[in-house]
Symmetry: C2
Subunit: 412 residues, 2 copies
Amino acid sequence: MLKFSYISHLYCPKCGNTFGTSEQHQVCTCGSPLLVTYDLEKMKKNVAPGEWGTRELTLWRYHELLPVEEEINVVSLGEGMTPLIPLRKLGNDMSIGSLYMKDEALIPTGTFKARGAAVGVSKAKEVGVKELVMPTNGNAGAAWALYAARAGIIATIVMPTDAPKINRNEIALSGANLYLVNGLISDAGKIVGKAVKDYNLYDASTLKEPYRIEGKKTMGLEIAEQLNWNMPDVILYPTGGGVGLIGIYKALNELKELGWVKGKLPRLVAVQSTGCAPIVEAWEEGKHESVFWKNSETVAFGINVPKALGDFLVLDAIYNTDGCAIAIDDESMLKEQEKVANMEGCFICPEGAATFAAIRSLRESGWVGQDETVVALNTGAGIKYPDIIEVSPGMLGKEDSINKLEPVYKGD
Amino acid sequence: MLKFSYISHLYCPKCGNTFGTSEQHQVCTCGSPLLVTYDLEKMKKNVAPGEWGTRELTLWRYHELLPVEEEINVVSLGEGMTPLIPLRKLGNDMSIGSLYMKDEALIPTGTFKARGAAVGVSKAKEVGVKELVMPTNGNAGAAWALYAARAGIIATIVMPTDAPKINRNEIALSGANLYLVNGLISDAGKIVGKAVKDYNLYDASTLKEPYRIEGKKTMGLEIAEQLNWNMPDVILYPTGGGVGLIGIYKALNELKELGWVKGKLPRLVAVQSTGCAPIVEAWEEGKHESVFWKNSETVAFGINVPKALGDFLVLDAIYNTDGCAIAIDDESMLKEQEKVANMEGCFICPEGAATFAAIRSLRESGWVGQDETVVALNTGAGIKYPDIIEVSPGMLGKEDSINKLEPVYKGD
């Protein structure tokens, strides 16, 4: 009989310990995040990549490489198969022949966090979780709260007071318990850690459950499928916790092991903000772990993560693919955000804009070649960040006319 | 040779006049909107519905039934093929066996306006438009500005000052000329009308160009394809200008003529706000045109349209399918918005919420039966309306704990 999932077991990338997949697990006994292994040998015999192309237009088309074992546990809002948009004008502007944007704005909740939440919540449901708790900078909490609502799981979300207000709406409307803490996400994390112990709750914090990575992994599967199972040369990812980058790396390795893609893996690039660049610092020093970044600050709230639990996995992915890490300042991000809207009609988030600023810089330095195929992740919709743009429209009374000789606002 | 489009000509549904499709057209000489006709007899011989299923995951998979004649003119950001999400819990709550939501949040710019803009801008490009102008309540202007940017067309957008602020960001960032008018959309329309004459610009106002309907039509094509070419019993649509409803009706009729769907067309329901219900009023009085609704007001900005140019087409679609028109008050809308988030994990827009409140009411009255298949259009993402939700989260200091005995916010 064909299996819905070829999941085999969980393993610890630090100490090698293994665990089963039918019970609830958080991190390894050694403190490291756990990763999922699949029985790729068996899968290879039963599934062909062409099959995937004929299935439903969600990330669940890849169910054999996802951890949910019974289809009935899938909690879906139609997430995945976001477009891979060719950006010819911006590519010309940067002297790159093949520039693509994977647009994660076109997904439930408007950010790629929906992928981790869809798969994470589905698997949580499968292993019997009734109540989960997590800290968030906003978008992840919103995604988990909404998917938990659909799954019938009670969610408690703790968020800094200065996280985006729009996320409060999403969380509160889902019926989750919403708490604001007058502090940073690390303070929210401490409160969550205490609640996990006090009430024996499922901890859905980044990388403290093993399945969010599997959801994010589907970005890599989709990029490969959308490029007809050819690898691009470079993939750039705005890196806070780095789960997406870890996931993309994992996906491409699994596809290679299945024999569905050939050749060299793309060079993976972690893009950070100059206001919070622990991975860049570690990479520049050739280290395999990062150091907590003090007084971090950036308009790109999603990559304001001073120390990621999976930093060593991110750095491994960069080193193993001859990739790099690069930091972008807020001004360059916002300039690039406008350029992408102006040239290509895409209103992207500042984190996504950082990846384009990074490409521009890496092209100028020659690290990215003119003939390379480059894929940038836009991790969310620009409309989720209403406050970072200043607009100076022309003001008219009811009886006024447009005077075309007037200088008009051109977005600068 | 296979044709990219089977477009034949434009015709006037009021006076019967016809026009070609290679030049720029606005409304008919009699003032009525123009509609597009296709050579369905010829198309039937060359295309099978199964072909569509294997194509790219955008609305352009239906290119034979779209007006763009050369593929090179297609301006796309990956729009279309939004999910048709089964809502089992909400269906149970209303005693409806098969309830679906067509989720137009998962599309560029976060609302269904992207469909009209993608097709409208593409065709504008094809007929040589260099500069367009339009009034907007917000979301349509944002979509047209961004697609125009991608197409290299200059856009000038006039919007009421009290339209949503998020739309200003989208328009300004696209590089469009943005004007705010201290008045209503009808005042913006007057300023646009004058600019069209003064500077000989292309008027992209609702139904003043013939191609926006064709973009909106794809919602109907997708619903049919996603239900395996079976018709639902009822489709509900939040109705302001009504272009989507006109388009869905047109699409289903074209599919019927092609022989790709069989049986009775679904009953089409126009959902309005009690604060602006000209179509409902006309339908209740059995009339074929609506009367300007004075002092209109509703939180659902997208359906605040006091008099639609295509009102007679909307009413025709309702009468011809044994549909109906129904008005929902703001309070019921907001209550339903919360219910959908709470039960199904979807943060929908107030216009979308109105359709669910309408289903609830029509089910209670018996107009919708328990065993019917019902499709509601959610026309946009809830995140585009940040100001209509009040949130009362729990407040914590850094050293506080979550006290599970405390009453926690449940979204009411």
